[in-house]
């Protein structure tokens, strides 16, 4: 499971296991391309604007180039955890213990881009990501950081207000969970699919069609609410 799964678990001091979903090379390459585009636009803007200010302008331009080259990702990672490219791909940089990336780690992982880039287009970084269990490039390894998917805001779905029904058989906890999961997913499923799924429990419910759906929603209501 751990070999093929990209979920990493970190146990916190409270004894809770955090689940972190790692981002792979492809999505990170996309994020990098977006960042590259933004940087190209920034370079263009900076050189366009400061070209008109003579010596001091050129100086400011060179300093800006320096800052964009080395500190563009650092600034954004400290500001909201990810550069704009990563953010648009739904990624975020965190420490391997699940906390937000620190200044020191952000500096390490971004300075080491120079090594990851070698000999061309992040070949070293890609190699490191493919060998490594956690998709870390060299900079991530040295900084102890992970690039993971940002957890999307979940919409809490209220279960449909079905009449509560006691299931006719004893259910294991996993079976109970499946019934509740079905009730939660119901609004996303088409009528036909709901019926199809619910009817597959015919041996238990003894019902077919819309009545089966109603029956199962009733079980789920009983499981979450009790007999009220």
């Amino acid at each position: 499971m751990t070999l093929t799964d990209t979920v990493r678990r970190h146990e916190t001091p409270e004894g809770i296991r955090l689940e972190l979903r790692l981002a792979g090379p492809v999505v990170r390459a996309c994020a990098w391309s977006i960042d590259m585009l933004i940087r190209a636009i920034l370079y263009g803007l900076v050189s366009g604007v400061f070209a008109f200010f003579g010596g001091v302008g050129t100086s400011v331009m060179l300093i800006m180039f320096f800052l964009i080259e080395w500190f563009y990702p650092v600034v954004f990672e400290l500001y909201n955890g990810a550069s704009p490219g990563k953010k648009s791909m739904g990624l975020v940089v965190i420490q391997d213990n699940g906390t937000p990336v620190t200044f020191s780690s952000s500096l390490i992982r971004n300075l080491l881009r120079a090594a990851d880039f070698l000999p061309f287009l992040y070949a070293t970084g890609l190699l490191s990501m493919l060998i490594n269990n956690n998709f870390q490039r060299l900079g991530d390894l040295a900084a102890g950081t992970l690039v993971v998917y940002r957890e999307a805001d979940l919409e809490r779905i209220k279960l449909a207000n079905a009449e509560s029904l006691r299931p006719p058989v004893d259910l294991s906890v996993d079976e109970q969970r499946e019934l509740i999961r079905f009730a939660e997913r119901c609004p996303q499923l088409s009528q036909e699919r709901q019926i199809e799924l619910a009817t597959s429990l015919y041996p238990v419910t003894g019902k077919r069609g819309p009545a089966a759906v109603k029956e199962i929603l009733g079980y789920a209501a009983w499981l979450t609410r009790g007999s009220r």
Partner: protein, 328 residues
């Protein structure tokens, strides 16, 4: 307890925590107060308890997912460091940087040797044999360099094309170029230290070669008076970034009692103060090089200032931050 009762009972607590986290997650400057709410840790621990319960009781994936997300956010806010970065920068310069340099002085000596020995050897040889420089650099580079430091050049340190550029342009150029070199010297350390060793060695050969060759030609007044001012900060900073690179390389090659991965992380963390310090030093060096070294002050003034700068820098590294928090 049924899921719905559970949710109803603790919903207010979760909402309260959610609001507190929202507040903490907004950017520091836009936040109304910088204080961590007093009951946040307690609420968070209760939430952890609820999350564990909801998993153990096999509540619905929806609820478990919701609680997990809240736990993750709480974890991130509770276990982060916040605030006072200006103060941290000042204490870094005043004590942390020199203290961590003294702590890792061994790497600095090795980096210094890797840089200085080839510089002295090649420099000495170039002084005696003025053809040897041709095996190090191309003819165009050599004539460029001669032009920069010819005694009749009104703006030493710049080629004729660049002599019209203002000091400001050169300031920007030195920042872009020199700090970049410092950072790269550090970064290449992850390649088992080989990249750093090569960079130090290469810089030693070129800088030594140029200095030796120009001294041999007799361009001493223009060359040495130009480079002496910023030499203290610039050369030392290159050596220090090299030392930082070697530290990472050490983690890769010889992890000691740690796993290789842990050793690399540990060494990189220790090397960060050195890189940041070197970056700041190169910033200072760029300033001196652009505005002081290129100025038309008498050479004696420049030499005296350079000597004072070297002495101050050495004293700074020897004594600054000693005794603070038991640092040596």
């Amino acid at each position: 307890m049924k899921q719905e009762q559970f949710e109803q009972r603790y919903q207010p607590l979760w909402q309260r925590l959610d609001q507190q986290l929202d507040q903490l997650e907004t950017f520091r400057l836009r936040r109304s107060s910088d204080e961590l709410p007093a009951d946040l840790p307690q609420l968070y621990r209760q939430l952890c308890n609820h999350y564990a319960l909801s998993r153990a009781r096999r509540y619905s994936p929806q609820l478990v997912g919701f609680l997990h997300r809240l736990v993750l956010r709480g974890h991130q806010q509770l276990y982060t460091r916040r605030g006072a970065w200006l103060w941290r920068l000042l204490t870094f310069i005043a004590s942390d940087f020199p203290a961590s340099l003294r702590l890792n002085i061994g790497y600095v000596w090795v980096a210094l040797a890797l840089f200085l020995l080839p510089a002295l050897l090649v420099g000495g040889y170039c002084m005696i044999d003025d053809t040897f420089i041709h095996s190090l650099m191309s003819d165009a580079e050599i004539s460029n360099m001669e032009e920069m430091y010819r005694p009749d050049n009104a703006r030493p340190g710049r080629t004729l094309e660049r002599s019209a550029d203002s000091d400001f342009v050169m300031f920007g150029f030195y920042i872009y170029n020199n700090i970049g070199i410092g950072f790269r010297t550090f970064a290449m350390g992850i390649l088992a230290g080989v990249g750093t060793v090569f960079t130090l060695f290469y810089n030693g050969i070129v800088i030594g070669g140029v200095a030796g060759y120009l001294t041999g030609l007799g361009y001493t007044d223009t060359f040495w008076s130009f480079v002496c001012g910023h030499s203290a900060l610039e050369l030392t900073a290159i050596v220090i970034s090299g030392a930082a690179g070697l530290m990472i390389g050490r983690g890769v090659i010889s992890p000691g009692r740690y796993s290789r991965l842990d050793a690399i992380k540990l060494q990189a963390g220790k090397a960060v103060p050195l890189v940041m310090g070197a970056g700041l030093m190169l910033l200072g060096a760029a300033f001196i090089e652009a505005f002081w070294s290129a100025s038309s002050l008498p050479n004696t003034v420049k030499y005296v200032a350079a000597i004072i700068l070297w002495i101050m820098m050495i004293l700074y590294f020897m004594f600054a931050g000693r005794g603070a928090d038991g640092a040596r």
